[in-house]
């Protein structure tokens, strides 16, 4: 599957610019797909908005420091603080919170993928996030190669550029 990098106009901050990816056979980016899938559920959507509000703050102040992310094999995810607030001793299974996968290139550039609410410790056993987890890993590997071979590069600290007629694929 081929994909392109997509700039998100509303997520360009003074220290970090956020991007997403769009598969060529789809109309919207993975970021937009995630956002719109979460919207019908009030709990999920509120958490998404809290995460956006959270990263829009540090994206203007510290930039995308490693402390705001956690590694998910070759990919990353936003390490939002909200997951620590929803622990409930009465719950049979812990609420593991939303997983929003991404690729942190450096302090200035983050590429947002898809995600979902994690319901099992092992993401590959979670019906909600399995596909997005594996997709994030595959995209991240492709991005690593693209940067390594110059298919993708950064200009002016924040701007992602691609070679003409080049494509990315997983």
């Amino acid at each position: 599957m081929q994909f392109k990098i997509t700039e998100i106009k509303q997520l360009k901050f003074s220290k970090t610019h956020f991007y997403s990816v769009r598969f060529l056979d789809r109309e919207k980016s993975e970021f937009k797909d995630f956002y719109e899938r979460m919207k019908p559920n009030d709990t999920d959507f509120k958490e998404v908005l809290e995460i956006v509000n959270w990263f829009s703050d540090w994206a203007n102040y510290e930039g995308a420091s490693e402390e705001f992310f956690r590694a998910e094999r070759e990919a990353d995810r936003l390490f939002q603080p909200m997951e620590f607030t929803i622990k409930d001793d009465d719950q049979i299974e812990p609420n593991l919170g939303l997983r929003w996968y991404c690729y942190r290139l450096n302090q200035n550039v983050v590429i947002l993928f898809n995600g979902g609410r994690k319901t099992h410790q092992d993401p590959e056993k979670c019906d909600n996030v399995r596909d997005y987890f594996l997709q994030a890993i595959a995209i991240s590997k492709a991005l690593d190669e693209a940067f390594q071979y110059g298919v993708l590069h950064i200009e002016n600290d924040f701007e992602l550029k691609t070679k003409p007629d080049s494509f990315l694929k997983i």
């Binding site: 997509t6 700039e7 106009k9 509303q10 509120k46 509000n53 703050d57």
Partner: protein, 164 residues
Amino acid sequence: MTKNNIQEIESEDFPELHNDIMQLPKDSKLYTQHVLNIPRYVKFTLSTLGLNQNYLAENLSKTDAEISKWLSGKQNITLRTISRLEAALSIDLINPEIKKLIDSLKGAEIAKSPIYTYPTGSSSVNYNVFIIPSVSHINKNIFTEGAVPTEQTTSINIKELLPY
């Protein structure tokens, strides 16, 4: 579009995002600010006083890893922890006016850090007070109201912030 052998990437407009964020409940906005601002203020205080995380680890009988978790915002800290941090650094972390101070700190240059002695009954408590010169620019969270740059020198006295 191709220019100088470079291809511009595509762009996605997402106008509803701003409106959605503005609908976020106030407590959610405040929570995300606290999660970031409390560690920021503790780190700022350590830096200003020439201390590092080891100081906190030793004074609070915690490991460096635990302190690091607190200061990275990766662990939700309790009121007990906040109180211990306040005691160790002689700062006030949960005063409602602290947000104004944090907003001022963003982009500010710190001139000096004198110690203010605040008497409380028979004993006294020393609070660290930071004098903040002109704030030329504040990186404002576009989704958050209230971050206002100040053009004049701002002096924040902890005494004025205390409720008693």
